[in-house]
Symmetry: C2
Subunit: 206 residues, 2 copies
Amino acid sequence: MSKNIPEKVSNRLTLYHSIMVEYIEAGIETISSPQIAQRLGIDDSQVRKDFKLLNNAGKCRVGYMVKELKDSIEKTLGFSKTKDAFIVGSGHLGLALAKYDSFNSYGLNILALFDNDPQKIDIQVNNKQIFHISKLPNLVQRLGVEIAILTVPRQAAQQVADFLIESNIKYIWNFTPAVLKVPPTVKVWNENLMGSFLQFACKDIE
Amino acid sequence: MSKNIPEKVSNRLTLYHSIMVEYIEAGIETISSPQIAQRLGIDDSQVRKDFKLLNNAGKCRVGYMVKELKDSIEKTLGFSKTKDAFIVGSGHLGLALAKYDSFNSYGLNILALFDNDPQKIDIQVNNKQIFHISKLPNLVQRLGVEIAILTVPRQAAQQVADFLIESNIKYIWNFTPAVLKVPPTVKVWNENLMGSFLQFACKDIE
DNA sequence: ATTAAATCGTGATTTTTTTCTTGATTTAGT
DNA sequence: ACTAAATCAAGAAAAAAATCACGATTTAAT
């Protein structure tokens, strides 16, 4: 783990992982690189190169063991390392993410949500409580949480981010369209929903 | 438009766009490549190369006109081209996306939602109606919709995708973790939430 | 007017990523 | 056993992306 896997590779690995899950459900034990490549529309040597990173040898004329591949991907991407996180902003998106149980299988554990709207406080969402944002610094410290998932409105994003940083949050997964200003000690991942989609949609929709 | 802008560039362009919006709100009229580069942690020549694609000349010692840049980005990424879409799957994520008004400013227009749960039918979400999935083929044809946003559970994903394809949907924005099998005439964009995040989160969280 | 600093534009360089190629290996069929 | 087809492995080549470097230009300061 932490071999500093490039983003593109990590992306492909999760796609491979989904295919492995599907194959296991279907009771298929081996899979070949051309099979995977065709499914994803990429080159089969690309797939083999990626698997090389996992130190997972295949067998000529047969392919790779599905179960082993799945395990290596999980190990490499750290699915089993639990990563605690808070969702900050309990609007539609925040609530949807709180209810999105798939996060758990990737090791992302949502502990609680926050909002500044008094109406939302103390509501339970998928067994997670919504707290007033003022409670955040204390909970960050007590629970040692380093990751915040930011789902507040764009206008509030920077201000809330500043507050998170003050509260000692180290990683911000930014679902807002704002480009946050942060010190170098804090890492931001911009989840740029539209960016990639526009590319996809505009390539040939004229 | 459709200069076949690489995904990475398109991603950066949306980030630049957000910064432009911020600058306009702040009443700042010019912006320089080092300013932007520092904000995003990238090289300033990279920013200039990207702007080169927009045919938007800067001025030495001054920078670029914020308003012009914003307009060029919008034109290049096709914000003004309305792209109609259906949301298929009215669970938490589908509903959250239906309520996510930012889509509109990028030209993505959600016309309606679909589900197979009779309890959800006819509910209005952000002025969009939820229809039974059986109504989809007809509406695709009548409204000429080509894009579907797939937010059903993983187990149902392939089956629903097959139905969409039969119904003549051409672009699937796939929010499920399933890797869909589609014919070459249909394009899938996998919104791989966890893929990129894992990379971000695991790089130094050990 | 002169100088210094900031910035653009762009060609060259480097790095990264992808694709191509070839040889070795394994399996299945004859 | 022999042959043919599928597949992996790994190095070479090509393509794409990012960074570097430097001359030209503009502005501000002296």
